[in-house]
């Protein structure tokens, strides 16, 4: 078995490449695919190098080719195939495409310490949803929030809150998917309130390029209505707001 190390390593690498390319849908973006392949290559090479017998067996066919101990046509095939592969890779990398360039963007832009809401200064730090109570009135507020959501947000964020509303396809970036484990569940309600209230134009400079089409909802909704929508999108997507232990949030104002 060990004498086939080179071919097993090569086969494994190709298997990983094919698996990543074909078995995962939607396709993995090229940036992540490259990352995975580099790490896989490093892992395979290190594994081979970590044992003297494996390392010698791995080198044997390479040595045989480059030291001329194989038939001439094999040597020629390898020596032609290598630059052709490099050429192919270079062509694929440099060939022009009609695709829009990628936009490196941050997942969650940092919230400001405070922002203006209808002329009133709101401090984000320590801000809590005043409508999130334990009583029976919570269900009614969520229902109201749902109503507001369907009148205003549904068109972009969708019926299932997955960012797949009727208009979603025309936006870059597309609307947020509230069902994604990395969106609402990661954030405190104060953060979501800030994002809804100030929309795309309220994003900090550090968040560029963003190009968010999110309206500034404080121009259309009251403070209570925004909080109700926040209640609904958490409830409707099955998420729970991020919280911290009481008394430990010593944050600056």
């Amino acid at each position: 078995m060990i004498r086939w190390t080179f071919f097993i390593a090569l086969g494994l690498w190709l298997l990983v490449l094919v698996g990543l390319k074909l078995l995962i849908a939607p396709p993995i973006p090229a940036s992540v695919l490259t990352l995975y392949l580099v790490m896989t290559t490093v892992a395979i090479v290190l594994f081979v190098m970590a044992n003297e017998d494996r390392w010698r067996a791995f080198q044997a066919p390479l040595r045989a080719v480059f030291e001329g101990r194989v038939p001439r046509f094999v040597q020629a095939a390898v020596l032609i195939a290598l630059p052709v592969l490099v050429m192919g890779a270079a062509y694929l990398r440099l060939a022009p495409t009609h695709d829009a360039p990628f936009e490196p963007r941050v997942v969650h832009p940092e919230p400001p310490s405070g922002f203006n809401l209808k002329g009133k200064r709101i401090s984000v730090s320590g801000l809590k949803n005043p409508l999130r109570t334990d009583g029976p009135e919570l269900a009614a507020r969520i229902a109201e929030g749902k109503n507001i959501y369907y009148r205003n947000c549904f068109f972009c964020h969708g019926d299932s809150l997955a960012g797949d509303g009727h208009f979603a396809g025309v936006f870059r970036p597309i609307p947020a998917n509230f069902r994604d484990v990395g969106t609402l569940s990661m954030l405190q309600e104060s953060y979501v309130f800030w994002r809804v209230a100030t929309g795309g134009s309220g994003l900090p400079k550090g968040a560029t390029p963003w190009n968010s089409a999110m309206p500034v909802w404080q121009d259309f909704l009251s403070e209570d209505e925004i909080w109700k929508v926040v209640l609904y999108i958490y409830a409707g997507s099955g998420s729970t707001p991020r919280t911290w232990e009481e008394g430990t949030h010593a944050g600056h104002q």
């Binding site: 940036s31 992540v32 990352l35 790490m39 190098m49 695709d99």
Partner: protein, 583 residues
């Protein structure tokens, strides 16, 4: 402090005291010179809130010198811990090699202390000259701690000199006094670290001041929210760093060795250095997680900037570096098993271990926010991939790192029993319990990792504690069984020290370089998340450099610092070798 330790004295006590006196004198002169230069420059230059240094921005100048100072400080704090541990092991095992090893590395400290002190004094001058207003503010707040800091510098110097110069004299029955000196060196060193951390962490999570920035409680300012997490994180990192640099030194000496005896000696040294480095490295992610949690708790803005905002991309680099550390550590151990007769029994475990490490690495390095072209984003339905997105969150990353830690620990344990066969009657049962402990920990880690997708974040954070506890408990159970299990074990053959491929030594050098790179990168993130604040939310940075750099520029500076550090370290190694040849 001098560039090299002077000749070792013939009459021990008096000469040790005499050399210590000279050391204290040199430190005093250096400090006086620093004060005079800083005062002279302050008086000579026109008054300003900020100044640049000969065209170089004040931020870059301070950044480079501060990071280099910190790296050498980590070295001179980490190596004495490393030396003390090996010295104590030498006493406990009655193996003279450990004492020689500790002495060998203490020798490296002389030049490193000098560089640390010179860099520290340069940094102080730069603070006073380039950031006069802010330095005056910080000095005013922390005045008593400065006095304590200076006192501790002298205490550290005195005990470090005594520790070195009494090495040969305090042997045998007097060894305990030498160990006591080593403990004192480490105590003062740790106290110095804690004080410096108070200044740094106050800038991140200020406390003990009123709205106007006036001091209300010095203790509150010192014991701010991030102080203790950074203390613990840096303390562990210093041990790992000291061990890694020591291992790199041994690797360097191994590669330059002229005969088998020398190769065997430095092979063994490299192993001990890497053992301590990786031992201290294993709990580091836990300490780092605690620090991250405290940052979030202090300020959600700062936490979001760090993990989800502009700095989040740097964590992918961090994942690449730490994943590479795990790879390198395991590969070094597996290569080392080649010189242990009997260790081939465990080669079969390398395939599943490498598979687990690679999968863990892939998960850890999966970015949450993916770089994608327009068509790729359309295909994914956003910037988050519906499947890979699951790996981009902390639930997956915590699981991955815990599994990688467990695997590396297992690798260590296999290495340890490489040439030994347990002969106790309960060996089979003992091994079964050990396997069960590892399996149980893996189930707990993966189980909680998967389940944490279904619970609120506050509950999920609690699960990470269970995961860590399971891994630590498995380690404790494994080692507790392993010690009696291998007592009186039959030895298949002696370890053939020195018979290890040269590439294993490059793995050790890689460990040291990667540790250093990580320190530079993480240090930048920790400091950078303050953004345009000197003291977060309280004292704004009003200089022209109060902007966040591009990641490309920042990582270039970090990498440049790492290169400069290793050039200086190479000089330290060279001086140590030259001294040895002279002797």
């Amino acid at each position: 402090m001098s560039a090299r330790w002077p000749e070792r004295p013939a009459t021990p006590t008096a000469r040790a005291l005499s050399q210590t006196y000279k050391g204290v004198l040199k430190v005093s002169l250096l400090l006086v010179a620093t004060y005079v230069v800083a005062q002279a420059l302050s008086g000579f230059l026109p008054a300003a809130g900020y100044r640049d240094l000969l065209g170089l921005s004040n931020r870059t100048a301070v950044w480079i010198v501060a990071e280099l100072h910190l790296m050498f400080a980590a070295f001179v704090l980490g190596v004495p811990i490393f030396a003390l541990i090996t010295e104590v092991v030498g006493v406990a095992t009655k193996d003279r090699r450990y004492d020689d090893l500790a002495r060998e590395f203490t020798k490296l400290l002389a030049m490193a202390y000098t560089l640390t002190a010179v860099l520290g004094c340069t940094l102080l001058v730069l603070f006073v000259v380039l950031y006069p207003k802010f330095t005056a503010y910080m000095h005013g707040l922390f005045k008593p701690t400065w006095a304590l800091y200076l006192t501790l510098i002298f205490a550290e110097v005195i005990f470090a000199y005594l520790y070195w110069y009494t090495w040969d004299h305090l042997q045998g029955a007097r060894k305990r006094w030498h160990i006591a000196l080593g403990v004192m060196v480490n105590l003062w060193g740790t106290a110095l670290l804690f004080i410096a951390d108070a200044w740094v962490t106050f800038m991140m999570s200020p406390a003990g001041i009123d709205e106007a920035g006036n001091l209300t409680s010095l203790w509150a300012a010192v014991a701010n929210l991030t102080w203790m997490p950074i203390n613990i994180h840096r303390l562990l990192a210093n041990v790992a760093f000291g061990g890694a640099i020591a291992a790199a030194y041994a690797a360097f000496r191994f590669l330059a060795a002229r005969d088998d005896a020398e190769r065997a000696r430095f092979d063994w040294m490299g192993y001990v250095g890497s053992f301590i480095a990786i031992g201290a490295f294993i709990p580091l992610p836990f300490a780092g997680y605690w620090l991250g949690r405290e940052i979030y708790q202090f300020s959600e803005q700062m936490g979001v900037s760090m993990m989800g905002g502009g700095f989040s991309w740097l964590w992918i680099l961090q994942a690449m570096l730490i994943g590479s550390l795990f790879f390198a550590a395991n590969v070094y151990l597996w290569l080392g098993m080649g010189r242990i007769p009997g260790a081939e029994r465990y080669t079969k475990f390398q395939v599943p271990m490498m598979l687990i490490l690679t999968l863990g690495f892939l998960v850890w390095a999966t970015p949450r926010s993916i770089i994608a072209t327009g068509s790729e984003m359309v295909a994914m339905g956003g910037s988050h991939h519906p499947f890979l997105g699951l790996f981009g969150v902390m639930a997956a990353k915590n699981t991955a790192v815990n599994v990688m830690i467990l695997t590396t620990f297992f690798s260590f344990m296999l290495y340890r029993r490489g040439n030994r066969v347990a002969v106790v009657p309960w060996a089979a049962a003992g091994k079964a319990v050990q396997a069960l402990a590892i399996a149980a920990a893996a189930v707990v880690v993966v189980g909680y990792g998967v389940y944490s997708y279904y619970v609120p974040s506050i509950v999920r954070i609690g699960y990470s504690v269970y995961q860590v506890t399971a891994v630590l408990a498995a380690m404790v159970v494994f080692v507790a069984i392993d010690i009696p299990l291998l007592k009186g074990a039959r030895e298949i053959g002696p370890i053939a020290w020195g018979r290890i491929p040269a590439r294993a030594q490059y793995a050790l050098v890689f460990l040291a370089v990667t540790f250093t790179w990580l320190m530079g990168l993480m240090g930048y993130i920790r400091s950078g998340i303050r953004q345009h604040w000197h003291v977060y939310g309280r004292v704004a940075d009003e200089s022209a450099n109060a902007y966040t750099m591009t990641h490309g520029d920042a990582t270039l500076i970090v990498s440049g610092i790492v290169v400069a550090f290793f050039l200086l370290v190479a000089a330290v190694f060279f001086m140590a070798m030259r001294e040895e040849r002279k002797a």
